[in-house]
């Protein structure tokens, strides 16, 4: 029998079949993206056949299920932005300072304990955080702020902030760690304190990474659903721009919470309310996608800097 070196036969065919199978698996993720965009796009288009662009983007009343219906997105948008802002106000500085502690101050031993402990914060389901906010945190806050309503934005913001601290901290920490050790040594050798080195060299040098973690944190807060639904109340209304602090103790509705409300109601696939779900979802999707892409872009830029 002669040596057979040609690329024929069963072996070759099965090799190709397997490769094709793996390629198809990889295509599923692309199809998922296309699916998301198509589903959102189609139903949103259907929605705008029934509701004018003007009503949606310039309307100040959101009332999708009870007649007379009204589909102005502003109450939800302002609710989402307000909630995100308050959450960011807590989560971003706390996350950044945690990152500074982990990378600049903690010893290896303390870090090996604190880092996993911090990761647990992100592993608790958001529905559980919602319960915590409603049943434990709001009554606790009532001792300090007697005017606080049963459903309010502050409690929801606090728990969601706790939830996204690890995201902000871990990406910021990576960025701070990427600053070459030689900068720290150079600073200290000039006879300045560690705090000065951190504030004047290390943080500016890792600014883009920190920024990227902040944007990702914002994106997480915008897309957060269950905690706001449970603890934030479901009252779609505009934030009074003149008295923004008062809204803190009041119920409000974010885009995500409004979607859950419609999802729970008995609506049919043909109703305008059903279609409005996708219009709001599309708005949400575009917001988070933009933020994620900006975050990625900034992150890639700082990675190249110290190569």
């Amino acid at each position: 029998m002669s040596n057979n070196l040609t690329k024929r036969g069963f072996e070759f065919i099965s090799e190709n079949a397997i490769k094709t199978f793996f390629l198809l698996c990889a295509i599923v993720s692309v199809v998922t993206t296309i699916g998301i965009v198509l589903v959102l796009l189609i139903e949103t288009t259907n929605f705008f056949r029934e509701v004018s662009l003007k009503e949606f983007f310039l309307g100040f009343r959101w009332n999708p299920t009870i007649k007379p219906t009204s589909f102005g997105v502003w109450p939800l948008l302002s609710g989402t932005l307000y909630f995100t802002f308050i959450t960011a106000l807590i989560a971003l500085p706390v996350g950044l300072l945690s990152a500074v502690y982990l990378s600049e101050y903690s010893g290896r031993k303390i870090r090996s304990i604190i880092k996993p402990a911090l990761e647990i914060l992100a592993g608790i389901p958001t529905v559980v955080y919602g319960y915590f906010a409603l049943v434990y945190i709001t009554p606790l806050l009532r001792n300090l702020l007697p005017g606080i309503k049963t459903f309010n934005i502050l409690s929801a913001s606090i728990v969601v902030a706790i939830m996204i601290i690890p995201t902000v901290a871990s990406i910021s920490e990576d960025a701070i760690r990427a600053v070459p050790q030689s900068f720290r040594l150079a600073g200290l050798s000039l006879g300045i304190t560690k705090f000065q080195v951190t504030a004047s060299i290390i943080l500016p040098a890792s600014l883009s990474g920190i920024l990227s973690s902040f944007i990702l944190g914002l994106s997480r807060a915008i897309g957060e659903t269950m905690a706001v639904t449970i603890a934030g109340g479901n009252l779609a209304r505009l934030v009074n721009p003149l008295k923004p602090a008062e809204a803190l103790l009041e119920p409000m509705q974010t885009m995500t919470a409004a979607m859950v409300e419609i999802g729970l109601s008995d609506i049919t696939g043909n109703s305008t309310a059903y279609k409005s779900l996708f219009a709001v979802g599309f708005t949400l999707f575009l917001m988070t996608l933009t933020l994620n892409m900006v975050s990625q872009f900034i992150k890639n830029r700082y990675r190249e800097k110290y190569k």
Binding site: F183, P204, K305
Partner: protein, 261 residues
């Protein structure tokens, strides 16, 4: 009080240093004279750089290390509990092996130390930057682009910028850890030339792997050798010409004639 060149400015006494279990320095005794250049030579890994970093207490920043012995700077033991290492480093500056300018512009690099010490006056800072860059023989090359990024400079220029940054805080002693080892011969010559020029104002201790460099620039030379497991000890210390021409110890002779290392 009569103070003159060649007074003892730094006195290292019975210095031992440990990285965990490993003893990196064994009983070092050395006297450094004011406004001179002293070279520290020896095979790589013998603890030269470690000894240098004891002098400005930079070794303390590494976990699991221990220092024994005394280093007297102007008569004061730098390991005394009430000596602030931050203050010490203002008097004993350091230039590193790899140029490490901050990711800021040229001006801000040089002005960084004085700014952090509390100098806010722009005019004063401008003066300091100009004087320091002139001393570091970099002024003519960068005076028209002080706001350029420091990373746009060549390696040799970056190292001179780092020297200028150290000079700007007016230290008394400058520690140099193989400052020219990553540079090309021309850049190295420039650095050596500038060291000779600033020696009137500063005491310089320079670690080098290059024996020609030590003999070219320094008045005093210390030879450190390593026992097994990388423990450094001082073999010989004296005037550079004496040490190179008629070394007292067999080990020194072997090392400088290139028989090992």
């Amino acid at each position: 009080m009569g103070i003159a060149k060649n007074d003892i400015v730094l006195e290292i006494k019975n210095l031992n240093f440990y990285y965990g279990e490993l003893q990196a320095l064994i009983n070092i005794n050395l006297e450094i004279k004011r406004n001179t250049i002293t070279s520290i030579i020896g095979p790589s890994g013998c603890g030269k750089s470690t000894m240098l970093r004891c002098i400005n207490r930079m070794n303390e920043l590494i976990d699991d290390t221990r220092t024994e012995g005394e280093i007297f700077y102007d008569g004061r033991n730098i390991f005394d509990s009430d000596v602030d290492p931050v203050k010490l480093r203002r008097k004993i500056g350091m230039v590193f092996q790899q140029p490490n300018p901050f990711p800021k512009n040229i001006f801000d690099n040089v002005a960084y130390g004085p700014k952090m010490y509390g100098t806010r006056n722009r005019q004063k800072l401008r003066e300091i930057v100009e004087i320091s860059l002139k001393k570091a023989a970099l002024w003519d090359e960068v005076k028209d682009r002080l706001l350029d990024k420091s990373l746009s400079l060549s390696g040799g220029q970056q190292q001179r910028l780092c020297i200028a940054r150290t000079l700007a805080v007016e230290p008394d002693i400058i520690l140099m850890d193989e400052p020219a080892s990553s540079l090309d011969p021309i850049a190295t010559m420039r650095i050596e030339q500038l060291l000779r020029e600033v020696t009137d104002d500063y005491t310089i201790i320079i670690v080098t792997n290059n024996m020609q460099q030590a003999s070219r620039i320094s008045e005093y030379t210390a030879f450190i050798n390593a026992k097994e497991r990388r423990s450094g000890f001082l073999v010989e210390y004296g005037r550079t010409q004496d040490l190179f021409i008629k070394p007292q110890m067999k080990q020194t002779e072997d090392y400088i004639s290139g028989r090992f290392g």
